[in-house]
Symmetry: C2
Subunit: 391 residues, 2 copies
């Protein structure tokens, strides 16, 4: 599929079902914003489509908090549809007949990229809480290492929603000359107090679970499943709009005509949430959840630029398409508009669309025709400008 | 202060700091909506002001999920200001120089009224999960028993916010001839899917705590403090608006200049939430939290009337004042407007005010001059109509 290029001594290693895994040289420290460094960092990724001869058609997709590198088709580990299978694939908006799509598991994740569940080379044991706290910029720096390895000087596009959108913004700020086009979707340039508050509830739920064992649950053979499920349930509510919850469930009862007058899942919405919680536990690592939510909370792009977001984009040539959804109350339109305002203040090339949808934050993952049309138009124009051939 | 009247063999008993406690006759079953009945029910209450000779100036205040009977001045158990000390007292909106204010701890509560932490007379042990699931109508039926005991045929006003507002609506529907005026504030005639979802997260957090012991923690000498704290943290976010959280905390750090790159409370909002969680645990019973949230989830006033809310108020003479707050996303204006619409359809006497506030749901507990003015006007006009003397 792709043509890996040597960058340092980085090497592809077996991914154990995680797709491709790029291993940085074992003695090369990967420096982090915290001042710490990691040794022997691996990044698991997946590619779709073909890199063209000019290496000009690469699209990097950045995933959200609980996403992974399996962006198109299906997830080989779960057998279920990939998280953005409606967006990425042959003939779809991110057309893999035209673009070479790359998606990597983020640093701190639990799908093959170095994270708290991986073995710490210094101790020979899983990191657990010895894993250093990471930032969105750290995630992006590691992705850049992968892009180097793939021999790509300039990405045609970097795109993502939610935390994926934060990475898009960080890419544009950190490596403007390497990003031709950027599409941050349903995101924010900084995490709000309410965002932080919801994450903190999730972290406290995990850390309150005695099976968490101060983060050392792998060594104890336990899993903080109950705490992680509660964290996921709380978060899941924030991904949906009140309207969507009402339309989906209302006050309908679950397989019953009358109240049980007990604490079972009388309501469909309870049953749905419990399922969201328990199924999440099977596919996600609790410590990864702590580290990635922390990285999101720390995200405040303007802070690196004297608190002035426009400075992050000064002189940038990248063309932007910013998308928000009317019923997204987690990263509401106002937050996305703040990004647009800063881009305008930096005289950047930016288009902005607020899409009418009652799907809430999750809209970016769903069948939203206007999102597909908007992005198809944006990518088509950018591809023409970049001289990419149509499929 | 008040003049207790005999109603059955109900008797005032010692309240152990909970104020007055009315005990129903020990052999009198108190029937519940679930079909169960409770024996030896007690209701703890507080009164402020004097009942006039005509017994026409009584105002029943109904408290919210975590409220109690100490509505005015200070709470003698905590030494802190009472939860509605800005509303109720001499010279205040609910002027105790004019009105005789009654407030009772709800059935299922943990401040002296019969609830899951009280001793089950059948077993001689605390109820725990043997306590029957109760409803808002059950709470109101018990309050009515208290009002009987106090010798009051018709309450001048029933007032409350949030779950208190639900009780107000239930009072008006169940006992229309006993309510002269009613003021439901920041409430809803039914719990929405999102409301239920947030409550379910809280319940799951409590029940996931091993110290909960299937509800039998009193016998085990444990307390599900961590789970209850997480439940409170999640709920607390829903009581505030995004704007209020932003204004109060933004992304300010707690006693530090830079990130800790750890999982301590770096942000003020985290520290605040943790405090909200841990201080709540000292004053509230975890099982009461389960039962009361369940009662709220079950609340759907229209369901008793063929799904038509207006039928709940058919022919009602009570005059209503419905109040909502613009930034309340837990019981938004639309839910309050639905109450007004039903009252209008029932040709009831109703005024409605949506108050501009960025305090979120908590606004009803705070210094909201327009709320005080609105209620003062409403109560004044109703008092004149009722022939109450000014203080």
């Amino acid at each position: 599929m792709h043509t890996p290029m040597a960058a340092g001594e980085a090497a592809l290693v077996a991914g154990h079902g995680h797709g491709f895994v790029l291993a940085l040289p074992e003695n090369e420290p990967f420096a982090l914003d915290s001042g710490s460094a990691l040794l022997g960092v691996k990044i698991a990724y997946q590619t779709y489509g073909r890199l063209n001869a000019e290496r000009s058609n690469a699209v990097l997709v950045c995933h959200a908090l609980t996403g992974d590198q399996f962006v198109a088709s299906h997830n080989p580990l779960t057998g279920r549809p990939a998280w953005w299978d409606l967006m990425v694939g042959p003939g779809l908006t991110l057309d893999t007949d035209q673009y070479y799509v790359i998606c990597a598991n983020v640093l701190g994740g639990c799908m093959g990229t170095t994270g708290p569940q991986e073995v710490n080379p210094a101790s020979g044991k899983p990191y657990g809480l010895d894993f250093p706290v990471i930032t969105v910029a750290d995630m992006v720096r590691l992705q850049c290492r992968l892009v180097d390895h793939l021999g790509i000087d300039k990405l045609f596009c970097v795109i993502g929603g939610s935390m994926g959108g934060m990475q898009v913004l960080q890419w544009a700020a950190s490596y403007p000359e390497r990003v031709f086009a950027a599409a941050p979707i349903a995101t924010a340039a900084r995490h709000s107090a309410q965002n932080i508050a919801f994450h903190e509830v999730g972290r406290q739920a995990i850390m309150a679970d005695p099976d968490w064992r101060q983060g050392d649950y792998q060594a104890h053979g336990t899993r903080p499943a109950a705490g992680l499920a509660v964290a996921r349930m709380a978060a899941h509510i924030t991904y949906l709009s009140e309207t969507a919850l009402h339309r989906k469930f209302g006050r309908s009862l679950q397989n019953r005509q009358t109240f049980s007058f007990g604490f079972g899942a009388d309501f469909q919405v309870e049953s749905y949430l419990r399922h969201q919680g328990s199924s999440f536990v099977d596919r996600f690592d609790a410590n990864s959840y702590l580290y990635i939510t922390r990285a999101m909370d720390y995200f405040d792009l303007a802070a690196e630029y004297d608190g002035v977001l426009a400075k992050a984009f000064r002189g940038i040539e990248t063309r932007f398409c910013v998308i928000s959804f009317t019923s997204d109350w987690l990263y509401p339109t106002a937050e996305n508009r703040a990004i647009v305002k800063a881009l305008n203040a930096a005289s950047a090339n930016v288009s902005f669309v607020e899409i009418e949808s009652d799907h809430g934050h999750d809209a970016f993952l769903l069948d939203e025709p206007e999102m597909f049309r908007t992005l198809a138009g944006f990518l088509g124009a950018a591809a023409a400008r970049r001289g990419l051939r149509r499929p």
